[in-house]
């Protein structure tokens, strides 16, 4: 079976700074990939290039056997790529339920036609909120949420688009241990439903527990890719994290 996501030799520069330098990554269908790297190593830039927020200068991104280059972010979302943002970016003027309504209206409808009646839409929003444990707050505004709830909303909104691949960009930063467990369990459940997941994270215990495979980015280059236990013992990786 061909890979779901195929990132081939992509490069991204910001002026003279090379943020990504010939990065190659493949992700198989149903896989759980962990992506780690020190701050500023290009993880978020990679996500932005995969999702279309930024356009890579060389190389290409293939997703589900389609070349994505030149496509805007919303077109990629329509084709089944979804992401959560590192810092949650909810729609501030809308209730939680309406926040989830947006991907349903604009992505799920665009993909499969407006099959849903307004009642179905409301039910689906509720289901999604139920999944992340936010159902009782359906009619509240994002400003009423705690940090962990905000992250859950962010994930629920990405999942609402019914993606094939979900990229979770540091969904756990700054959370307590039990909250990390919460989010991890949620991601595992989503993976069991058949969603391929790329997890970008600094919390190593979570990454190790979650990932079937681990890739490491340092200064815009991929320096390791393989079984998590092997990768963390890789001398180059150790050097990048701990220094000489």
């Amino acid at each position: 079976m061909s890979a779901l996501l195929h990132v081939d030799n992509i490069t991204k520069r910001f002026g003279g700074f090379v943020a990504l330098d010939g990065v190659e990554i493949e992700v198989a269908r149903g896989e759980r990939l962990g992506l780690i790297g020190p701050n500023g190593s290009g993880k978020s830039t990679l996500v932005n290039c995969i999702c279309g927020t930024l356009q890579n200068e060389t190389g290409n991104v293939r997703f589900d056997s389609q070349v994505m280059d030149g496509m805007s972010a919303h077109q990629r979302t329509h084709r089944g790529l979804a992401r959560s943002f590192q810092l949650p970016r909810p729609f501030h003027s809308m209730t939680l339920a309406d926040n989830l309504r947006i991907p349903l209206l604009y992505t799920v409808h665009a993909r499969s036609g407006p099959l849903r009646s307004p009642g179905d839409l409301t039910d689906r929003c509720h289901e999604l909120l139920e999944m992340v444990g936010l159902a009782p707050k359906a009619n509240q505004m994002p400003r009423d949420l705690t940090q962990v709830e905000m992250r859950k909303l962010e994930l629920a909104r990405a999942v609402a688009a019914e993606p094939k691949l979900l990229i979770a960009d540091e969904s756990m930063a700054g959370l307590s241990n039990s909250e990390v467990e919460d989010i991890l369990a949620l991601l595992m459940r989503l993976n069991e439903r058949g969603i391929t997941i790329i997890l970008i994270e600094h919390i190593m215990s979570a990454v190790m527990k979650f990932s079937q495979r681990l890739a490491v980015l340092v200064s815009g280059k991929k320096i390791a890719d393989g079984r998590p236990e092997d990768v963390v013992r890789n001398p180059e990786v150790v050097r990048a994290y701990l220094g000489e």
Binding site: R101, Y106, H109
Partner: protein, 320 residues
């Protein structure tokens, strides 16, 4: 959710319009028509501004340009071959809508104050063009002799009453459209652009397309408001059509009324418009902009979300 359907709302709005017409006819004072026409015109302008500025969060300082485009389209066509005013309104809407689309296309990548400055520049460019275009009067301005009466068969309607009725219909169309947009998928999409464009794209919202739709609709309604203006005023000159008061009022009225709902521009336009008409009669027309400025400053401090926002907040507090 309890809500009135668009069809029902249109009927109610239409009925209110007819009642206003009948009352105005019964009172039968010419001045009342003149004054209310201006207020209605501002309802259309404020509602149009709000579709782009309130719903999408893109502040347009060039409202006067779109208004003037509508007005000058009428002058241009009047010089070639006088057409009925309703047709001129349609043409004005098309001209301003297309220019709105063009402006949207050229400024797609500009946000915040950069977008606002670009719209201001558009107004200056268009005014310069009109000032130097002799056919529509250039800097001298253009006279349009308004007929005394509109004759339909044996019916004779005073022309100002006719213009008033047209502007009333436009105001109703603008309000019904704004309300319909607000509750549709399009309205939800507009709101995501206002809140966070990056997140909107990630959710699958085609933000560029929606912005173009918003600039075109907003421009078209402003052109509609401007099209009958030469007939109303009789003498159109660039400095009045591109007047500062249109740009300022189109922004101030929704801000004072509240930008997130169609009610806001209506409330703002009626309140500010009436205050200005009152001041014009009792003090002087020069006081108008001062009133707008003072009210805007006051509301930004007391009710940053406008009157509608203030009322909603009160209701929410009462409920909880």
């Amino acid at each position: 959710m309890k809500s009135v359907t668009t069809a029902k709302f249109s009927l109610i709005a239409g009925a209110i319009g007819v009642v206003i017409l009948l009352i105005a006819h019964a009172v039968g004072v010419d001045y009342l028509y003149f004054a209310s026409y201006t207020i209605l015109q501002f309802i259309v302008l404020a509602t149009a501004w709000n579709i782009l500025g309130g719903y999408c969060g893109y502040v347009n300082f060039g409202s006067a340009a779109f208004f003037a485009l509508g007005a000058y389209s009428s002058v241009f066509i009047h010089k070639l071959y006088p057409l009925p005013v309703p047709l001129l309104i349609v043409i004005g809407a098309m001209v301003s809508g297309v220019v709105g689309l063009g402006m949207g296309y050229l400024t797609l990548r500009l946000r915040g104050s950069f977008f606002a400055i670009a719209t201001l520049a558009l107004a200056v460019v268009l005014q310069t063009l009109v000032v130097n275009w002799d056919f529509v009067g250039g800097s001298r301005g253009a006279y349009i002799i308004r007929p005394e009466y509109l004759e339909i068969g044996s019916f004779k309607i005073p022309y100002i009453e006719y213009l008033f009725a047209l502007m009333l219909a436009l105001a109703i169309i603008a309000l019904v459209s704004a309300r319909t947009i607000e509750r549709s998928q399009l309205g939800f999409g507009f709101a995501t652009i206002r809140d966070d464009e990056l997140a909107a794209e990630a959710c699958g919202v085609p933000t560029l397309k929606l912005k173009l739709i918003a600039t075109a609709i907003s421009g078209a309604f402003m052109g509609m408001a401007g099209a009958p203006f030469p007939y109303y005023i009789g003498y159109l000159q660039p400095s009045s059509a591109f007047g500062l008061e249109y740009a300022v009022n189109s922004i101030a009225m929704p801000m004072i009324g509240g930008t997130t709902s169609w009610v806001g521009p209506l409330v703002g336009a009626v309140l500010l418009g009436s205050a200005q008409q009152y001041a014009t009669v009792t003090i002087s027309s020069a006081v108008n902009l001062l009133i707008v400025g003072l009210m805007l400053v006051g509301f930004v401090i007391i009710a940053p979300n406008g009157i509608v926002g203030l009322v909603q907040e009160r209701l929410r507090r009462k409920r909880s």
